[in-house]
Amino acid sequence: MTPLHGYLFVAALLFAIGFAGAVTRRNAIVVLIGIELMLNAANLNFIAFWRFGPHPDELTGIVFVLFSIAVAAAEAAVGLALIISVYRHYKTTNVDRIDSMRG
C-alpha cells in the first residue's frame, strides 16, 4: 500500500462518512456539513493525485482545489441562507418535516 492509496482511502472514508451523515441526520445544517465533508474528500483526492501523479509540475490539481474551495464557500453561504429562510418559514430545520413538495 503506497501513500497514495492511503490518502485515497482516507478520502473515501471521509466521503462515506459525509454521505452517511447527509443521508441519515435530520437536521438540515448537519446535512450541509455532510455535503461539505464530501466536497473536502474530493479535494483531498485532487491534491493527492497532484502530489503523486505523473505531472506534478502542472498545477491543475491545486488550482482545481482552490476553485473548489471558493465554490464551496459560496455554496455554504447560499445553503445556510436557504436553511435560515426555510427555518423562518417552517419553524424547523428538520428535513423530514420539510416535505411539502411531495407528490
Binding site: A22, V23, D96, I98, R102, G103
Partner: protein
C-alpha cells in the same frame, strides 16, 4: 482643408453634451444648467465664427466647399454615409443660429427665472440648438432629416412646455401632427431620391446628388405619371418645407405654437426652426432648379415655390391685421415673411431668400423677445387691446421694438428688412413667368407696415389701459387656472405698474436691434456682400449697382408702399387714444370681412369640417356596412358553425371523450403511483443518488475488468 472643417461636428456636439448633462442634473441646479447651455452655445458660436472665417477665406477659391463624409452603416451592398460640409450657406446659417441662439439663451435666464422646470427648459433648448446646428452642417439628406425630426421633437416639447395648460398641450400636438404631414411627403421624397440616384449625400466629390453628374442623370428621367422625376422629388421635399415653414395650407400650427414660452417662440418659431424649411429649399436648390431635360426654362418646382410663397405672404398678412394677441400677430407676420422668403427663393435664387432669412431671423427674434419683455412687464397680459402707453414704462423695450418693427415693415435705407425685402420684390419683378407674385408681394408689404403700426399703436402709444384689462384678465386667469399649479410666474401680488425687464432680457434686445440695423448694409444693391458670399464670389463696393435697370424704381415703390402702410395704420389707430372696449376701426367699417380675418379665414374650422367631418362620415359608412351587410354574413356563418358544432359535440362526447378519459385515467394512475417516489424527503433522493452512483461505479469497474 481647415481644421475647423474637419472638426465642424464639434459645433452641434457641444450643445448636445450640454443638453445631456443638464438632463441628468438635479432640478435645483439652475445655475449649472443655464451656465452649461450658455457656455456650450458660446463655444459653439466661437467655432461657428471660425468656420465663417474659413468660409470667407475660401471664397472664390477652388475649395469653397469643404466636405467630410464618414461611413455610417451597411445597407445592402453599399455603405450609407453621412457627413458634414462647410460652404458659405452653412457658415452663414451657423453664425446666425449660434448668435441668435446665444442671445435668446441669455434672455431666457431672465424670462424663465421663476419657473420650477428651469433645468428642463435649458435641456430642451440645448437639444434644439444641437439638432438645428446638426441640420445646418449636414451633408446628407438622411442626416438632415434626422436632425429635422429632432428639431420637430424639441419644438413639440417646448410648445408643450407648460403641458398642464390644455391649450399648450393641444398646440404641441397640433404642431407635431401638422408638420408630420409635410415630413411624410419629405420622407417619400427622400426614399424616391435614394431609389433614383443611389445616394443621399449632397456633395461627395462629384458623386453627391446635388452635383452635375447625378443631376444630369436625374433630369432625363420621367416617372410613370408623366411628371419629371426631379420635379416630383423636389415637390415632395418642398412639402416638408411647407410643413416646417408654415406655408399655406400647413400654416395652421405656427400661430398656435405661441402657447410655448416666449423665448421658444423667438428662437424656434421665428428665427431658426421655421427657417429650416427655407434653408432646406436653399440647400437642395440645384435639385429644385433642375429643369427636366427637353424643357429648358424655369423649373416647375420653383414656380410652385414662388406661388406658394406669394400666396402665403399675402394670406398671412391679412390675418395678422385682425389679430389681438401680441404674439399671434407676430406669428402671422412670421408666416407672411416666410412666404416672402419662399417667393425670393423661387423667383430670385438662394442668395435672395437667404438674405431675407438672415435679416428676418434677427429682427423677428428681436420682436418676439420684445413682445416677451412686454408680456413679462405687463404681468402675463397678451391682449394688445389691454395694453397701451407702455412707451413711458419700458423705454428700452420700446426703442428696440420700434427698430424691429421698422425693419420688418421695410422702412427705407437704415433697416435691414428694407434691403432684403427689396431684393425679393426686385427679383419678383424680374421673374419671367408672371408679375402676379410681385403684386402680391407689394400687397403683403403694405399690409406688413399696416399691422405692425397697428400693433405699435395698441401696445406703446395712447394711454395705459392695463389696470382695466388686468382685472378682467386676472379674473379670467383665476377661473381658467383654478386648481392648476402656478404656471409661468408664480406672481401672487400684482404690482400696479408695468415695469422694465431685467438686464439679462434687455441686453439681448439691444444686441439684436444693433444687428437688425447693421445687417442690411451687407446686402444693399451697392455692396451685395452676402449675395456674393453665398454665390462664392468676391464682393465689390459699387454704387453703380443702384442704378441698374429696375432697382431704383422698385426701391422707390416699396418704400412708398411701406410708408403708406405705416401711415395708414397711424391714421386709423394712432391719432386718438384707443379704448379697449370699443370695436376695432376696421370692424366698424367691414364687420364681416374683419370677422373672417379674425377667425383666420375659418381655416381651422374648415379643417375640422373637412377632415374630421370626412372621418366621421367614413365612420358612419363603415358602421352602416357593419350593421347591415357584415352582420348578416356573420349571422349566417355563425348559424352554420353552431350546426356543425352540435354534430361535433355529439361525436366528441360519445366517441372521442370516452376513449380520452380512459387514457387519462390510466396516465394519472401511473403518475400517482410514480409520485409515491417523490415524497419530498431530500434524503431519499440523496440515498437513491448514492445507490445509483455505486451501481454505475460497479458497472464501470466490471467493464474495465472484462476489457
Amino acid at each position: 482643408m481647415d481644421w475647423i472643417a474637419r472638426n465642424l461636428w464639434l459645433i452641434p456636439v457641444l450643445p448636445l453634451v450640454g443638453a445631456g448633462l443638464s438632463a441628468v442634473a438635479p432640478r435645483r441646479q439652475r445655475l449649472f444648467s443655464a451656465g452649461l447651455a450658455i457656455g456650450s452655445m458660446a463655444l459653439a458660436l466661437v467655432l461657428a465664427c471660425c468656420a465663417f472665417g474659413s468660409a470667407v477665406a475660401h471664397v472664390g477659391t477652388a475649395v469653397s466647399r469643404q466636405v467630410i463624409n464618414v461611413p455610417w452603416f451597411q445597407l445592402g451592398d453599399g455603405w450609407v454615409r453621412v457627413g458634414w460640409l462647410l460652404d458659405p450657406l452653412t457658415a452663414l446659417m451657423l453664425v446666425m443660429v449660434c448668435l441668435v441662439g446665444l442671445l435668446i439663451f441669455v434672455y431666457s435666464v431672465g424670462y424663465m427665472a421663476h419657473d420650477e422646470n428651469f433645468t428642463r427648459f435649458f435641456c430642451f433648448l440645448s437639444l434644439f440648438a444641437a439638432a438645428m446646428l446638426g441640420l445646418v452642417i449636414a451633408n446628407s439628406l438622411l442626416l438632415f432629416f434626422i436632425c429635422w425630426e429632432i428639431v420637430g421633437l424639441t419644438s413639440y416639447l417646448l410648445i408643450g412646455f407648460w403641458y398642464h395648460k390644455p391649450s399648450a398641450a393641444a398646440a404641441a400636438k397640433k404642431a407635431f401632427i401638422t408638420t408630420r404631414i409635410g415630413d411624410l411627403a419629405f420622407l417619400i421624397g427622400i426614399v424616391w431620391l435614394y431609389g433614383q440616384s443611389g445616394t443621399l449625400l449632397f456633395y461627395d466629390g462629384g458623386e453627391g446628388f446635388l452635383e452635375t453628374p447625378a443631376l444630369s442623370s436625374l433630369a432625363g428621367q420621367v416617372s410613370g405619371w408623366g411628371i419629371a422625376v426631379p420635379t416630383g422629388i423636389a415637390l415632395l421635399i418642398f412639402c416638408g418645407a411647407v410643413g416646417k415653414s408654415g406655408q399655406v395650407p400647413l400654416h395652421v400650427w405656427l400661430p398656435d405654437a405661441m402657447e410655448g414660452p416666449t423665448p421658444v417662440s423667438a428662437l424656434i418659431h421665428a428665427a431658426t426652426m421655421v427657417a429650416a424649411g427655407v434653408f432646406l429649399v436653399a440647400r437642395v436648390y440645384p435639385l429644385m432648379a433642375l429643369a427636366p431635360a427637353g424643357h429648358p426654362g424655369t423649373a416647375s418646382a420653383l414656380i410652385v415655390i414662388t406661388w406658394v410663397g406669394a400666396i402665403t405672404a399675402v394670406f398671412a398678412a391679412t390675418i395678422a391685421v385682425a389679430q389681438t394677441d401680441i404674439k399671434r400677430i407676430l406669428a402671422y407676420s412670421t408666416v407672411s415673411q416666410l412666404g416672402f422668403m419662399m417667393m425670393g427663393l423661387g423667383a430670385g435664387g438662394v442668395a435672395v431668400g437667404m438674405f431675407h432669412l438672415i435679416t428676418h431671423a434677427f429682427f423677428k427674434a428681436l420682436l418676439f423677445m420684445g413682445a416677451g419683455s412686454v408680456i413679462h412687464g405687463c404681468h402675463e397680459e397678451q391682449d394688445v387691446r389691454c395694453m397701451g402707453g407702455l412707451r413711458r414704462f419700458m423705454p428700452i423695450t420700446f426703442a428696440t421694438y420700434a427698430i424691429g418693427m421698422m425693419a420688418l415693415s421695410g422702412v427705407p435705407l437704415f433697416f435691414s428688412g428694407f434691403w432684403s425685402k427689396d431684393e425679393i420684390l426686385h427679383s419678383a419683378r424680374e421673374w419671367p413667368i408672371t408679375h402676379w407674385p410681385f403684386y402680391l408681394g407689394m400687397i403683403g408689404a403694405l399690409l406688413t407696415g399696416f399691422y405692425m403700426t397697428r400693433q405699435m399703436c395698441f401696445v406703446f402709444f395712447g394711454n395705459c389701459r392695463l389696470s382695466l384689462g388686468k382685472t378682467t384678465s386676472s379674473e379670467q386667469r383665476t377661473v381658467a387656472h383654478a386648481g392648476l399649479p402656478a404656471r409661468e410666474h408664480p406672481h401672487v401680488e400684482l404690482p400696479a405698474e408695468p415695469h422694465e425687464s431685467p438686464g439679462t432680457m434687455v441686453l439681448p434686445l439691444v444686441a439684436l436691434a444693433f444687428f437688425s440695423v447693421v445687417l442690411g448694409f451687407f446686402g444693399t444693391p451697392a455692396w451685395t456682400w452676402i449675395q456674393s458670399f453665398l454665390e462664392g464670389e468676391h464682393a465689390t463696393f459699387n454704387f453703380a449697382g443702384l442704378s441698374k435697370p429696375g432697382v431704383l424704381p422698385v426701391m422707390l415703390t416699396s418704400s412708398i408702399i411701406a410708408l403708406a402702410g405705416i401711415g395708414l395704420g397711424y391714421w386709423l389707430y394712432g391719432r386718438e387714444p384707443l379704448d379697449s372696449q370699443q370695436l376695432d376701426v376696421l370692424e366698424r367699417w367691414w364687420p364681416n370681412l374683419f370677422t373672417l380675418l379674425r377667425r383666420k379665414y375659418y381655416f381651422d374650422e374648415a379643417y375640422e369640417w373637412a377632415f374630421v367631418g370626412l372621418n366621421r362620415w367614413w365612420a358612419q359608412a363603415c358602421d352602416w356596412l357593419d350593421r347591415w351587410v357584415w352582420e348578416g354574413v356573420v349571422q349566417l356563418v355563425s348559424g352554420l358553425v353552431i350546426g356543425i358544432s352540435w354534430v361535433d359535440r355529439v361525436l366528441d362526447e360519445q366517441v372521442v371523450n370516452r376513449a380520452f378519459d380512459e387514457t387519462c385515467e390510466g396516465i394519472s394512475g401511473g403518475g400517482r403511483l410514480l409520485s409515491r417516489l417523490q415524497n419530498g424527503r431530500v434524503q431519499n433522493y440523496l440515498r437513491a443518488l448514492g445507490i445509483g452512483a455505486a451501481v454505475l461505479a460497479l458497472l464501470l469497474i466490471w467493464g474495465c475488468r472484462r476489457s
